[in-house]
């Protein structure tokens, strides 16, 4: 591992020394930040505690999940279900956008028909604005219906909402036939339990809000709900921990001694670009890797055991919850927290342990 730029501990004794050099780097910063946050519940709690102590901005790497999915939840409200309900009850799975198709094929939520309710009819699938993508590993009865492969997602959702409400539309420049829109609207209305699957990465908050309004409108006549593609790198768990700890979702800034939520001011990439952040602690036990923009600030990186490349100034190898040590993580399929036993235990420090040491080291400097 000699190819690393930064210092890296070689054992428990050197961990203390490395943490001290990390503490020096952070202690002199005016506005530190803690990013990535790919870690278990204990790790996020430790990060928020450290953040409050040093007045840091804290955010998770799953920014789209926060700025689109969670934003629309607070803007307008959403109807959601679990993967299990979707699999067993859903007689129409509506995949909206290419991300939904990719996830439905990969996450094995729909790879069997779900046999819990014998009264459920056959399972249909409707692809909306998926750009030609079709699910490869879904259990489907009949053909996959398709609408608006060539249209921007926001536009095809708007057209569907209009026709569903019986309102007129103009001809779309892409030449989408109104009868095709009406047929899709009818198919959705005819479902007994429809499930819209969507990936927030395919949307901005306006388009996602529109999709949620479509689902709400469908509930006037039948039952319809949504299943969002889960946030990457434990983003949902990190935001839940933030909600019960700070009262709000991420990002939060604690520069004034109390947590404030602000998507724009505390956007790490923006703030680093604007020269507002002068030290970064990157937590990547579960990933992701250090982003390009981190190169502009002094960085302490907590990376998972075995990560080969890291350009941070101080690099600390940590264990991976559920692999090298036990941890509490959200289970995206069950949509709950779960204690996960280690699969291959190793004597590596956890994120919580390192951040607590870091917090203690900074206190010592201040004393």
């Amino acid at each position: 591992m000699s190819d690393h730029r930064g210092t890296r501990p070689k054992g428990r004794e050197s961990l203390v020394e490395t943490v001290e050099s990390a503490a020096r780097l952070i202690a002199k910063a005016r506005q530190p930040a803690i990013g990535g946050l790919g870690t278990d519940v204990d790790g996020v709690r430790a990060a928020l505690a450290l953040g409050l102590k040093i007045g840091a901005i804290v955010d998770h790497a799953a920014t789209v999940y926060e700025r689109v999915d969670l934003r629309v939840l607070s803007d307008s409200g959403v109807m959601v279900t679990t993967a299990a309900e979707a699999r067993h009850r859903g007689d129409l799975i509506v995949l909206v956008g290419p991300g939904a198709v990719a996830w439905a094929g990969h996450a094995s939520v729909f790879d069997n028909g779900g046999g819990l309710y014998p009264w459920r009819g056959p399972r249909g699938v409707l692809c909306i604005g998926t750009g030609g993508a079709r699910p490869a590993h879904m259990a489907i009865d009949g053909d996959v219906a398709v609408l608006g492969d060539d249209l921007p997602l926001d536009r095809v959702i708007g057209l569907l909402r209009a026709r569903l409400g019986g309102r007129p539309v103009a001809a779309s420049p892409e030449g989408l036939d109104v009868t095709a829109i009406d047929a899709a609207a009818l198919q959705m209305k005819a479902a007994s339990f429809g499930v819209v699957v969507a990936d927030a990465h395919d949307f901005d908050h306006v388009a996602y809000d529109s999709l949620m309004a479509l689902v709400k409108a469908l509930n006037a006549e039948t039952r319809f709900t949504t299943l969002a593609v889960p946030a990457h790198h434990h983003g949902r768990g990190a935001n839940l921990v933030s909600a019960w700890t700070t009262g709000g979702r991420l990002p939060v800034g604690m520069g004034r001694g109390y947590p404030e939520q602000d998507d724009w001011r505390f956007d790490l990439e923006r703030a680093v670009g604007a020269g507002e952040i002068d030290a970064l602690v990157w937590v990547g036990a579960l990933g992701p890797e250090l982003p390009e923009w981190a190169g502009k600030v002094p960085t302490v990186a907590l990376i998972h055991h075995g990560a080969q490349e890291c350009r941070a100034d101080v690099v600390i190898e940590v264990g991976v919850p559920g692999i090298t040590h036990a941890g509490v993580l959200t289970d995206a399929i069950r949509d709950g927290f779960a204690h996960v036993e280690p699969r291959a235990p190793q004597d590596l420090p956890s994120v919580a342990e390192v951040l607590s040491l870091l917090s203690a080291a900074i206190k010592d400097k201040a004393a």
Binding site: R30, R67, S74, D154, G158, R161, S172, A213, R256
Partner: protein
């Protein structure tokens, strides 16, 4: 009485929250007390006196000599006073403003200028960033009754969830102008893509609209008495240059049919 003036001494080393520097918050404070008000956003504890020289006592006329893209919250909740910034400002200019007048001789470099402002007039001589007059995440309304005048261009999401009030933009506007708006008016030379997407009520007026959404339905030429009345009002509020943005005859599109469909886009 001389205007209460905050003269910027040095470039701010961090983002500043200037929401305290409005008459309601300053009225019982001496100059020394004002200088000790915290305006920093990091543990460093930056106070007014660190960055500004404070002079004058007239709380109805507040001036910032010098601006910065790190000036957040200027004129928050302003009521009945006049506020002038000689330079750029950051986010949340005039947030929740009730009445009075704000002039920024510069640009809005951050989002959410005039968000939830229910009254008064804000004039910006430069450009406006994305999400100006837009609702902050989780809020029901963006601009909510005030008048916002932008002499330059505006970015994307201008007036997202606009509730009430008028936005005038001399130049062009980015994508998603008036998205999800429930009332109010946006008048501009040109609107970008996805204009009015999700709007329920309200009016967008522009010389051109890029790639108008098919959920806006053409409903004829519009020559009602309303347009000359509006032009006269715009001339009195913002000047003849802005009044020229209001057409004599407009092509009217109703929408957004995806939403309630009681809004309109007038192109002319």
């Amino acid at each position: 009485m001389a205007a209460l003036t905050f003269t910027l001494k040095a470039a701010p080393p961090e983002r500043l929250d200037l929401s305290l520097l409005v008459p309601d918050k300053l009225k019982d404070l001496s100059a020394r007390e004002i200088e000790r008000l915290g305006i920093g956003t990091t543990p460093t504890g930056v106070v007014v006196g660190d960055l500004f020289t404070v002079s004058g006592t007239d709380l109805t006329d507040i001036r910032f000599a010098g601006g910065s893209d790190r000036f957040d919250g200027v004129g928050t909740g302003l009521k009945g006073a006049s506020l002038h910034v000689d330079g750029d400002v950051g986010a949340y200019l005039g947030r929740g403003m009730k009445s009075g007048k704000i002039v920024v001789a510069g640009s809005l470099t951050g989002p959410y200028g005039a968000t939830a402002a229910t009254g008064g007039v804000i004039r910006v001589t430069g450009n406006a960033a994305d999400a100006t007059a837009a609702s902050i995440p989780g809020a029901m309304a963006g601009l909510a009754g005030a008048t916002l005048i932008i002499e330059g261009n505006a970015g994307d999401l201008l007036g997202d969830r606009l509730r009430r009030g008028v936005i005038l933009v001399q130049g062009s506007v980015g994508a998603l102008a008036g998205a999800r708006m429930v009332g109010g008016t946006i008048i501009s030379a040109a609107l970008g893509r996805r204009a009015g997407q999700g709007m329920k009520r309200g009016t967008l007026i522009a010389g051109t609209v890029e790639d108008i959404e098919p959920t806006f339905v053409f409903s004829g030429s519009y020559t009602e008495a309303f347009l000359p009345l509006l032009r006269r009002w715009v001339a009195s509020e913002a000047g003849a240059g802005f009044a020229a943005l209001v057409p004599q005859v407009a092509q009217r599109y109703r929408g957004d049919m995806a939403s309630l469909g009681k809004g309109e886009i007038l192109i002319g």
